[in-house]
Subunit: 348 residues, 2 copies
């Protein structure tokens, strides 16, 4: 298994990326193809590591303040070079913590969408108090969505939950402004009908339903459903809000603990709760966000990824490739076409 | 000052409403007009309280599972009766923890919109680690919005922050999927331009800007801006997500503390942090949500309101009435019309 790792454009520079690769190599067998500034990288790569990696030198990259659309013209940039390696079967998956818009754009245009998928979607595991975190998509690839896109996201998420996360009988919910069937905006109301009637989600009467209807923002952290479907604008707000609340609460504790010895003792005695909390809300542990619906495995990591986040994103890439999720998604969309769903094939 | 309090349709029944009224009466001078089942209410009203309140008996109310549109035909329902009292100047404000859709619909149709306001918006204070919590609107009155509505929400929120909350130089942000000016969906991108160019928000070059552009979900809890503008679908997701994350985190602590004596000790030593956290994330403390843009003061409380929430909602109603916010909003929209803003008067 070969995995392209984009070393460029991440907020914390090259070091955490090399460290993450190194950690992943200590537990998994794969060949990292490191794309980026070879000189910078070599300063951080140990003698032991150098024999285990392949380095493709290129110094250009898409800066965070540049337009995603620039990426298509920048053929010398790390993400373009890396994507071409993946496209030409020089690797099995790609991980990048660089400009996410550039990565999504290039993946969609250079690797291509799986036949029948209207729009690829960015998919992420949400922090959760339960054992089976919810998967949420789209969290940023498509800011303006049609109802049919949301149906496709439901299928993409369902296949990922089943095949990559190994969830038995995954359930699907549509993010809305209330649980009642009548709730929603114009697009989610239309999507509700499409998802409800879609054959994949119509099980026999005796089985529990796969599509659980509308869910609310608060349902996500208690695992009411496994797959939460929304447009990329709402999904991004959801993700950032979650980060914001968790970090604001952590801030309250930090400030109190800093000021008093008694509170420090208290924090020590509550260390199990704090460590569980850290684990449950630490994005690094959840890895990156797979871009589902493109023809290969692409994992988009947080721009602020630390070594642990890069390491987890690599594990995710390996798992996604091994599970054959892209092929399973292709099969699901082939069925969609053949079953003559009410939605048109938007790639036609 | 007379305040109509709807006693019906709340999740926890009549008792917390009576208790909330009683508590508010112990600190503020006002006359509560309690609308609802008089027999039920009298069972909870003390001898001392009975002389201080006016009770309007009506037993019908809009159940949570009924359609908001039913409210207009149900002239005997508590919310219809209460709204008519307010409309006919029999009271200065109304507080309800019943069916929020019914209250919003009746307020809009019976009290009427302030001239020039395209859509009234539901407005709420968000939990915050800072001293000056952010105000967020719309959080549920309008699931599908045009860009012009969002401009109106910005004006409504700005006036409320300035006049009712007493914020000096309040700032405004547009909730989006990134901070850069280029971020947003089709509607927020259009709204961005309208708000940026709107005269009220165009201060001279030497003053700090009022409109701070796009903000993200995570900005809300650190008070990056005072007024956060979004459509009612996104606002509802934001609100529920915040509740969900805070309650999931509280759940982690509760479970740990339940299981061990040491953890109980730890929680005791950290009691300052926990009480601050409770205070910052307890919706009861923030009162209800004013419906801004209608001709009178209407406060919509959470269906699950406890006595403290009802009490705080009454304080909010008193403050809103005393500040003359409805009149100030009317003035702001009168200016809007006269300044020949690029937006058409949608009430025309």
């Amino acid at each position: 298994m070969k995995i392209v790792v984009d070393m460029m454009g991440a907020d914390l520079g090259v070091l955490p990326i090399i460290e993450g690769v190194s950690k992943a190599l200590s537990t998994q067998v794969f060949k990292p193809v490191l794309v980026g500034d070879a000189k910078k990288a070599k300063a951080f790569i140990s003698k032991d590591l150098v024999s285990k990696v392949e380095i493709i030198d290129c110094t250009d990259y898409i800066r965070m303040d540049e337009q995603a659309t620039d990426a298509l013209k920048r053929k010398e940039s790390s993400i373009f070079v890396g994507m071409e390696i993946l496209k030409n079967n020089g690797a099995d998956a790609l991980v990048s913590a660089g400009h996410s818009g550039a990565t999504m754009g290039l993946a969609t245009l250079r690797l291509g969408r799986i036949k029948g998928v209207s729009r690829p979607a960015l998919c992420t595991l949400m922090p959760s108090v339960g054992q089976r975190p919810s998967l949420c998509l789209d969290v940023g690839a498509n800011t303006d969505c049609k109802a049919e896109y949301l149906l496709d996201f439901a299928i993409l998420g369902y296949e990922y939950a089943k095949n990559v996360l190994g969830y038995e009988n995954p359930t699907v919910g549509l993010l809305s402004n209330g649980e009642e069937d009548s709730k929603g905006n114009l697009i989610t109301k239309e999507a509700f009908k499409l998802i409800k009637e879609y054959p994949l989600f119509c099980v026999d009467k005796d089985s529990p339903p796969i599509f659980k209807g509308n869910v609310e923002g608060s349902d996500i952290f208690v695992n009411s459903v496994d797959v939460v479907v929304c447009d990329g604008f709402v999904g991004n707000v959801l993700l950032k809000t979650t980060e914001g609340v968790a970090s604001a609460i952590a801030g309250i504790f930090k400030n109190t603990i800093k000021g008093s010895f008694g509170a420090k003792m208290g924090a020590f005695l509550l260390k199990d709760a704090f460590s569980l909390l850290k684990q449950k809300t630490d994005y690094a542990e959840y890895g990156g966000a797979p871009l589902l619906g493109v023809n290969k495995v692409v994992i988009i990591s947080h721009g602020k990824s630390n070594a642990r986040a890069v390491e987890c994103a690599i594990y995710q890439a390996i798992k996604a490739k091994e599970s054959g999720v892209a092929e399973k998604i292709a099969l699901a969309f082939d069925h969609k076409k053949n079953e003559g769903s009410t939605t048109q094939d938007p790639s036609a």
